[in-house]
């Protein structure tokens, strides 16, 4: 008797567990088939949160000294940065980054393969830093196109406002109405700015490039230096306004402790320099 009751209870418990497991798994399957956008949204939120956390962690970020540091002494790949136009505005406002493929101002010295390698290295470093929600590589960027559009949209908005609200024959409204109108206008402008100032475009122009030779670097004759110098123009994508300009030059000449065996080259210096400069601005904005 006792055994029978116990067996029945065990059987019922097993059946219930199986049923619940089946129902849960079917629900999960249903979710995975029916709601891919929901999953994407969840992933996006998670990514945005990760970016937010990464940006908050930048509070104690100290910039790299590319000219002379322990890293460059041991591994080489030093870099210099010359800021021609200091950054304008708040870089932390930009949640997305677009990097153009390098424009060669050195003729055939820079081939497509090297160019792609450069941009891929820079992208991967930005990806690992996680300070932007997305980092994309684009073929080119023409700010002139966006400047025109922006002017047009601004003037259209202004026209609409002037026709609707500021007509000469319109009656003067009450103070409350005007306050409401002002707050609405401020909100619209804020929304417009939020929409428009989200993507930072970095245009890369190669000014000097020498691949270098590790064999020559091994000789005590100051030869075979690897050099890469780029001009970076930073644009607000929507307005087409240039918000900063820098020259970053990286080199590796085999004078480090590791000498020609060092894995770092001129591109390492430039990539480090670019990521460091942008991170500094984001960190400063976060602070």
């Amino acid at each position: 008797m006792f055994n029978n009751e116990r067996t029945v209870k065990l059987l019922m418990l097993t059946v219930m567990c199986t049923m619940s497991a089946l129902s849960l798994s079917s629900r999960c399957n249903a979710q995975s088939f029916q709601d891919p956008p929901a999953q994407e949204a969840v992933e996006k939120v998670a990514h945005t949160t990760a970016v937010g956390i990464a940006r908050r962690n930048l509070e104690n970020y100290k910039g790299q000294n590319g000219i002379l540091s322990m890293k460059t002494l041991v591994l080489g790949g030093e870099f210099r940065v010359t800021t021609v136009i200091p950054f304008r505005g708040n870089v932390a406002d930009y949640s997305q980054l677009e990097i153009t493929r390098p424009v060669s101002l050195v003729g055939g010295a820079l081939n497509v393969e090297v160019s792609n390698h450069q941009v891929a290295r820079i992208k991967s470093q930005f990806d690992s830093r996680k300070i932007f929600e997305s980092v994309r590589v684009i073929d080119s960027y023409d700010p002139a196109l966006y400047v025109g559009k922006q002017k047009g949209s601004h003037s259209e908005i202004a026209d609409t406002h002037s026709v609707q609200d500021d007509a000469l024959e319109a009656p003067i409204r009450s103070a409350e109405d005007m306050e409401v109108r002002d707050s609405q206008r401020a909100r619209e402008e804020q929304e417009f700015e939020q929409r428009s100032t989200r993507t930072l475009v970095t245009v890369i122009e190669v000014l000097d490039y020498a691949k270098g030779s590790r064999l020559k670097q091994a000789l005590p004759l100051d030869l075979g230096k690897s050099i890469l110098t780029v001009r970076l123009r930073y644009y607000d994508k929507t307005t087409g306004q240039e918000i900063g300009r820098q020259i970053i030059s990286g080199q590796s000449d085999g004078s480090s402790l590791l000498g020609p065996l060092s894995p770092r080259d001129a591109l390492s210096g430039v990539a480090d320099g670019l990521v460091d400069q942008v991170t500094r601005r984001v960190a400063a904005s976060v602070k």
């Binding site: 000219i67 030093e78 010359t82 003729g107 055939g108 000014l207 000097d208 100051d222 210096g269």
Partner: protein, 219 residues
């Protein structure tokens, strides 16, 4: 115990002396080499000159557009423009050299006219020389002494040769002069850059490079 300490200190002293001597010995050849070849030039043909430019007897020289803004001293910009104009005047390729910044009173090239008043045909094709200052840094001379870091001085210019009437670019070159000498300075680097620009103009207007040669050069 004392003997061991003495032996250790002698050993350390000899090692450090050996290292420093080795450092000096190994750093001497590159230092000498750098002093001899420290003012280096790298040039890249962006648009190779593929036409015969020997027919151009008039050249209009424009000031280089400064893309480095206030990062390069005004004196260096002036020196560079002056070196180019001065160098072009010393060439025998042109009968008339005009300065675009001083277009009100175009200066005749006195050296090339040999006292003869050359009547300039207005319909004659005019070659325009203009360009950009793309990069400049004075470097860090103190770091050059200890041979560490990114210490060299650099000046990069991009030079274009155009036909004035059609504004077509006939040739474009990127010239970078790098100075890694301890004993040299920025003025010397600017002077060298000016000479390189003049040399490019001279090559392009005195020698006809065939298309075959251009293709080979580009490859």
């Amino acid at each position: 115990m004392r003997k061991t300490a003495c032996a250790m200190s002698i050993m350390l002293a000899s090692i450090s002396l050996g290292c420093s001597v080795r450092g000096v010995v190994t750093s001497v050849p590159p230092r000498i080499f750098r002093e001899v070849h420290g003012l280096r030039v790298r040039s890249y043909q962006i648009e190779p000159v593929s036409e015969d430019l020997r027919g151009y007897k008039v050249i209009e020289v424009h000031q280089l557009e400064n893309l480095m803004l206030d990062q390069i001293p005004e004196s260096s910009v002036q020196q560079l423009n002056l070196e180019i104009t001065k160098g072009l005047r010393s060439l025998k390729n042109f009968e008339l050299i005009t300065d675009a910044s001083d277009s009100q009173s175009p200066q005749r090239d006195a050296t090339n006219q040999s006292g003869v008043d050359v009547a300039v045909d207005r319909s004659r094709s005019v070659l325009v020389l203009d360009g950009y200052i793309d990069d400049y840094t004075p470097g860090i001379p103190k770091l050059r002494y200890i041979e560490q870091g990114n210490n060299h001085a650099v000046l990069t210019v991009r030079i274009q040769l155009k036909d004035k009437q059609t504004t077509r670019v006939l040739g474009e070159i990127n010239i970078t002069v790098e100075n890694t000498r301890v004993t040299s300075n920025v003025e010397r680097m600017v002077e060298k850059t000016g000479k390189e620009v003049v040399s490019f103009v001279d090559r392009s207007t005195s020698h006809y490079t065939t298309r075959k040669e251009v293709a080979r050069y580009v490859q």
